[in-house]
Symmetry: C2
DNA sequence: GAAGATCTTGTAATTAAATTACAGTTTGCG
DNA sequence: CGCAAACTGTAATTTAATTACAAGATCTTC
């Protein structure tokens, strides 16, 4: 774990003097890494050995080692903060902020994602007779993307962003079919219904949605992402990117599971597109 | 600049002994940050002052300061490397790799993105009479997503993933209309045609595509992302995520440009969805 | 509520690490 | 070939960090 986070979480285990040290470090982390133990001790108004003990308590070898860890946390943490776009931001500012907060979201997603669950989802998908991707609104494009990916695997895959079609498809599903329902909040009533119907018809339902949501309750298997979304803008941004990456992961797991022979198929699909494209050499000449 | 990169680039300015030091550090950077100057000097088979001089040459205050910089470079670099998925990777491995390489791609995209061009694109979009998003294959889902976003702004927006519809729409476009063509490679013939047709009909054409591609040539304005794509898998993954983030940026720029009054509209759109959802409180009870 | 025990904190001594000063050696150039 | 500049190492010095120990605070138990 990040040293900075560690300081914050274990603030209760500190003694009075150690807390003084923690406060000073948290207030000026950048200064800390360029200070000597004496300077820091003075700033925190404690003795040098106290600072040293503080470092040891955080499982570092001593002050120099602590500074190293702190420097790494700082390097990692700085570009990852979830910064909000402000009214007066110029193009540089909001561009940087959106990139950074998306990256931050992916980072948290990476840390929180349930890998055994991904593995189970891949299991289920590889054995599916038919795969259906359902999403509404912003999640519809994620469903489309998933269809596009899995279509290349030469497995029966469908995708609907229309409630009626989704409903019909769900009713017609059978054992061995896999239905993937995508919704960030997991509170879209229609999609919950679809999941329930699919399950009643013995399909396996994978939910890419918030853990503990109504939709999650209807699913056989839930892949939760738990990305902190910037709700100020009223648009799902980072969450949907995380969903796409999750689709990438499932697709990758799928190909790996199917083995190398199967992957030749992918190349065939790609080659088949060639006719509709300008070749690189054509264009260069 | 990153210290590690700095070592690599300035390797020619080093003396013989200093190069020995550089080699050892580059070979075991992680070990270096936990070594004393004496240990490192021994490893490189040079004297301690030589190591110190080496550090100074890299614009650091001395060995401890150098270690700090190195630690930061390492922290920044490690999660950002573009790691390829291997045949024998398990779920943890490929999940981590895909997250990391996606983040790495976003990072390069962030660095390379042309901000004045984004600003011009936002200009054009805010003044558009009608906005059309066109994409084919994997880029179609990006176009859908863009439609979903801009639709909330209460501006006329359409999206087609069908060549015929795209063509008709392009033919019917007029001055003041904006057509956004999305393609990672920029070599899809059909889409190039669409761009050309739209331009002939006085529409402004924004290309979200590779700089220097056939499609780019047909556009009024090109937003290039230049994300290094892992072509081994034959699937656009990171590039498409970067495209989505770019859409987010354009949408954000759009709302900011329109001002706060306009943003109340967004809230209205969001509130209108409420009826179709389970409320949080409903579910909790 | 007081005595013992434990935990916390600081002072001073020690040790370890890094830096500087200086001198010997090598290398390049006229 | 010889001078000068740059490179490198040894040894001394300085600086920083750690340890050992003792004094003080806090907590427990009778």
């Amino acid at each position: 774990m990040n040293v900075l986070e560690k300081i914050v979480t274990s603030v209760n285990n500190f003694s009075k003097s150690e807390r003084k040290v923690a406060d000073v470090i948290l207030a000026n982390p950048q200064t800390t890494i360029h200070s000597s133990i004496a300077a820091l001790a003075k700033m925190a108004d404690v003795s040098e050995p106290t600072v040293n003990r503080f470092c040891r308590r955080l499982d570092t070898k001593g002050f120099p080692d602590f500074k190293l860890h702190l420097a790494q946390s700082l390097a990692n943490g700085t570009p990852y903060v979830n910064r909000h776009v402000e009214e007066e931001d110029g193009p540089e500012a909001y561009t940087a902020k959106i990139f950074e907060s998306t990256m931050a979201a992916l980072d948290t997603a990476r840390q929180r994602v349930d890998i055994p669950m991904i593995n189970r989802a891949v299991d289920v998908l590889t054995q599916a007779k038919k795969i259906s991707f359902f999403g509404l609104g912003a999640s519809a494009s994620v469903a489309h993307d998933a269809q596009n990916k899995f279509f290349r695997f030469n497995v029966p895959v469908v995708c609907f962003d229309d409630i009626v079609m989704q409903r019909m498809s769900a009713i017609n599903s059978a054992e061995g079919d896999v239905v993937v329902c995508i919704s960030h909040t997991g509170r879209t009533k229609n999609l919950c219904d679809i999941a329930a119907i699919a399950r009643e018809n013995d399909a396996t339902v994978i939910g890419i949605t918030a853990y503990d949501s109504p939709l999650a309750k209807e699913c056989t298997l839930v892949l939760s992402l738990d990305v902190p979304e910037d709700t100020d803008m009223y648009m799902p941004m980072a969450s949907r990117v995380a969903q796409l990456v999750l689709i990438d992961i499932l697709a990758t797991g799928f190909t790996l599971r199917r083995g190398s022979k199967f992957r030749e198929n992918l190349k065939k699909v790609k080659d088949s597109l060639r006719g509709s494209r300008f070749e690189k050499k054509d264009f260069a000449s």
